[in-house]
Symmetry: C2
Subunit: 566 residues, 2 copies
């Protein structure tokens, strides 16, 4: 096998492969040539090329989410690395194992007036799990240090708490020299951390059991989660207990008849005098970000006696200002424990929530049967109906993910959204990266016009996969700003908040060889669906731009919330 002539590169690549990294997204450059050569020639590494580093890092994020395994990104030195930062922050909060390789000039040349040389040490400091600059290969104990540091980095990327790590690689010239790879598994030394299985002691369990059995109003909220069948099974069992309300969002990928799926829709119907009856005294939270702002406000104002946060990450993230116990154990195992707790309460707290949810579900169905007006809401209703079964749905941030929360989730579909930082900067790239990896199923992205244009470089590459479909809902600006209260009271509404415009995605699609579909009413959306979801092995992604009347969207949403109120 040919590789870079640099020994440290051969070791780095061989050890990363041995530690489970099989995919690297590469952005072209020169300083990173040694790694490019070594990665591309390695038979166990799949490389894909994305020229814009901002997009490249989001591709890798999407890939790592699907693989549930570390994915590398590699760029040249200088500001290239800084373009990785938005996706790194997203991976940090969303706990995605991104291995960030940045080529660097030799450290002695930093701030000495050489081109593409910045201070890369610790440059992602606020949002990275671990950072190393590989010492130059002349340093004392070089190979031991390199292997040990790579072991450390992978532990921080892919241990119990996952996330991005930064491996900075200073390279001296020559950069392009190649040689037969001589590294074998004995040339590096992987230090494994045997992460123990966390389980609570009996006295800890007894303490929790006492609280559980004495609480009448028990609520479990699940935020963003990868699909987890064990957890789903446990929660379904628990849902049989009428004192327990289980609230999930579509990004939790937990669907069951016994859960409350559309939190905002249900909260919308809770009257002032009912607040106390619907507020939990024991709150249990699982998973990452929760989209609903309403539930956050609702719970921050509630009198919660106990809040248990389950999971390994961000132990002190006290989203509802009520945390009493942070419990770093596996969620499915913890819920399993709970199902064996004594049930003393005869409360119907959960049943009360569920009942309200049922009634509103019916009301919502009625609403869509009676309201055929064309707007964002009815477009979502239509589009969601056509998402293929057992496929993946990627939701862009801002209005899209919020609209999607208003509809009951589809059981066979996996839901994804960048809720770590909730940025609009990489939705398309993340969806495309996911589609690349899970090429056997459809991936659908629903995005808005602002998110789409922001990340249009997601299309600027040669790997855009044929199983990706993009619905771009063009309401001529950031629709969210017409929905949230506040912006419309200012003179700045159209220019500074909405960014009202009349650009279309049509030309960008043409430029990047993406089949373009256009729709301006429900009929044209529906009539094109069959062709839109036709698969072409050698094709690229397809995009349907759906123009909606920006003036009416707000009214339609208001009417919906008004009519489904009980």
């Amino acid at each position: 096998m040919i590789s870079s002539a640099k020994k440290e590169v051969q070791i780095t690549v061989a050890q990363c492969v041995a530690m489970g990294m099989k995919h690297v997204v590469v952005s072209p450059g020169s300083r990173n040539a040694p790694m490019i050569i070594a990665l591309n020639q390695h038979p166990e590494i799949e490389t894909i090329v994305i020229p814009d580093e901002r997009s490249a890092a989001f591709y890798a994020l999407g890939m790592a989410q699907q693989l549930n395994a570390p994915v590398g990104i590699l760029c040249t030195s200088g500001s290239a690395a800084l373009n990785y930062y938005p996706a790194i922050a997203e991976a940090f909060y969303q706990l995605v194992p991104l291995i960030v390789f940045t080529a660097d000039r030799p450290k002695s040349w930093v701030n000495q007036g050489d081109g593409q040389t910045i201070d890369q040490d610790q440059v992602f400091k606020n949002h990275i799990r671990y950072s190393i600059t590989i010492p130059e290969s002349t340093a004392e104990n070089f190979e031991w240090v390199l292997s040990r540091e790579l072991s450390t980095a992978f532990h921080h990327a892919n241990g119990n708490v996952k996330g991005p790590v930064h491996i900075n690689l200073p390279f001296s010239e020559p950069l392009y020299q190649q040689a037969e790879a001589t590294v074998t598994e004995t040339d590096f030394k992987i230090i494994e951390v045997l992460e123990p299985n966390n389980s609570l002691s009996n006295s800890q369990k007894q303490k929790l059991e006492k609280i559980w059995s004495q609480s009448n109003k028990k609520m479990i909220i699940c935020g963003q989660l990868n699909p987890d069948i064990a957890l789903l099974t446990e929660l379904k069992a628990l849902a049989a207990d009428p004192s327990v309300a289980i609230l999930v969002e579509n990004t939790s990928n937990l669907v069951d008849f016994g859960f409350i799926h559309c939190i905002d829709r249900t909260l919308n119907s809770i009257q002032k005098e009912e607040i106390e009856a619907f507020s939990p005294d024991l709150l249990i939270t699982i998973g990452g970000a929760v989209v609903s702002k309403r539930i956050k406000t609702f719970l921050r104002n509630a009198n919660i006696n106990h809040h248990w946060k389950i999971g390994f990450d961000f132990l002190f993230m006290d989203t509802y200002q009520s945390m009493t116990q942070s419990i770093p154990v596996k969620p499915s195992e913890f819920i399993h424990e709970i199902t064996h707790f004594k049930r003393e309460s005869d409360s119907t707290f959960g049943a009360r929530w569920k009942q309200k949810d049922f009634l509103i579900q019916e009301k919502a169905q009625d609403f869509f049967q009676q309201n055929k007006a064309y707007g964002d809401l009815t477009v979502f209703h239509t589009v969601l109906d056509y998402i293929p079964e057992t496929s993946h749905l990627h939701m862009a941030n801002s209005s899209v993910v919020r609209y999607c929360q208003l509809f009951d989730p589809i059981r066979s579909i996996q839901y994804w959204c960048n809720r770590g930082t909730s940025g609009i900067d990489g939705s398309t790239s993340t969806a495309a990266g996911a589609a690349l990896i899970k090429s056997e199923t459809w991936h659908t992205l629903i995005t808005g016009d602002v998110s789409f244009f922001y990340d249009s470089n997601a299309l600027w590459n040669k790997v855009l996969p044929p199983n990706l479909r993009i619905f771009m809902i063009n309401n001529a600006g950031g629709g969210i700003f017409k929905i949230i209260p506040g912006p419309n009271t200012t003179n700045e509404l159209d220019d500074f908040f909405v960014f009202k415009h009349d650009f279309s995605a049509e030309h960008i699609c043409k430029g990047f060889k993406v089949d373009y579909f256009k729709a301006e009413n429900i009929e044209s959306i529906e009539s094109q669906m069959e062709e839109f979801y036709t698969f072409e092995e050698d094709g690229r992604a397809k995009l349907m731009e759906i123009f909606t009347p920006s003036e009416l969207n707000h009214e339609q949403l208001d009417a919906f919330f008004k009519e489904i109120r009980l």
Copy 2:
């Protein structure tokens, strides 16, 4: 005057205006609403809206360069801020006063699971001159702290050493409340730093004079500089001394018959046995980055006895590994001192350089008269001929800025290039920002296909100015990688280094309402020039895409360097 109801916002904006900030590039958002309202309503502030923060920051960079004054950028909280980082690093190394305003959630909510909340404190630490998080308005001595900190930030942005500063603004809800502005100049307190005029003592001067008069081979190299007539005048006077060689690049904006302008072209002709005769014993450097890699290598290998670095910034930036004195005084004043130093040497070191330069200049002219083959080099020769007089030329990084260095600079033209980090990420946005501010002259950007696509969001806005012209030389990939030695010895050449592609800018231009011109030979370039440079008051930028044969460019450049060798 209406403003945000938040007192700290009123003070911040009023004080920044009083300290000289009149322009702010705003990216839409919600958390930044208080600043948006206050800035937009302020009669002395001009706001422009650019939705992609990465592009927005480069627009501001271009504006600040032209204004030679602080320019603000403002974004919402979360990953939006991280998209500013590439331009911030560029401003840091290029010494551009960028005032970076990032809205933030209240500090108590960082890492607590709220949307669009990251750890913004010190997030640009490696490449920022000063960072503050404005304390919340309930803090002790709030107004005193705020005013003092803003004074400090502006000193670091716009003092003797200029650069980017970060002002992080945590805002609690409500965000959109407005009120009549009540802040007057007595509500804040500006602390001025009276920066003393740095001048050398007599004994320091005597020491330098002694070295100067004893040095036979004196070389002055000017890197990137804003146009500086005082410095030009002094250098012209000094150029009359035949012992002094003055080397400049077009980015130094210093043009004179007495200077060597095309460093690489001249170095190319220095034979091995001449190296000693052409190497300086005293080197004086002025200004920022130098593009020529050849001169760096040449000087790092030379026996330099003394190297004086003139200027306030990066006092220990020892680019040629020979620095003996760092002299933080104004370059024009220092050169003025030198012109009064005793001239003891009868060396003709400078004349020797100049003579070689003359001869090569003629050879180069002959080359272009004899070689009419179509390729990147002849395209540059043609295009540069058509740049309007007294206008601005913006050069993208990578091959473009290097090609442009091969041609004698045009006296009436100002040359710009992002040589701080030499990134490809913001060339178009920077040029557009410059054109926005200096709307009375033409601004021309020459860029390559990779740089252009990378920063295509420079066109995604409503302010793209009508006095901007873009030549996009499309050689189907990163042409630089076919020119530098190394990549062509690998299997990765086309995919990983060049990023060979067949995308065109035509559709992107259409999508963003930019008039598109296409050329595939010298005749079609020339025949369209008149129409291309037709000004339309209400128009937007125009772009000419020039397709060149990627296979031949390398050969043409080789032939050029071979034929102009003496």
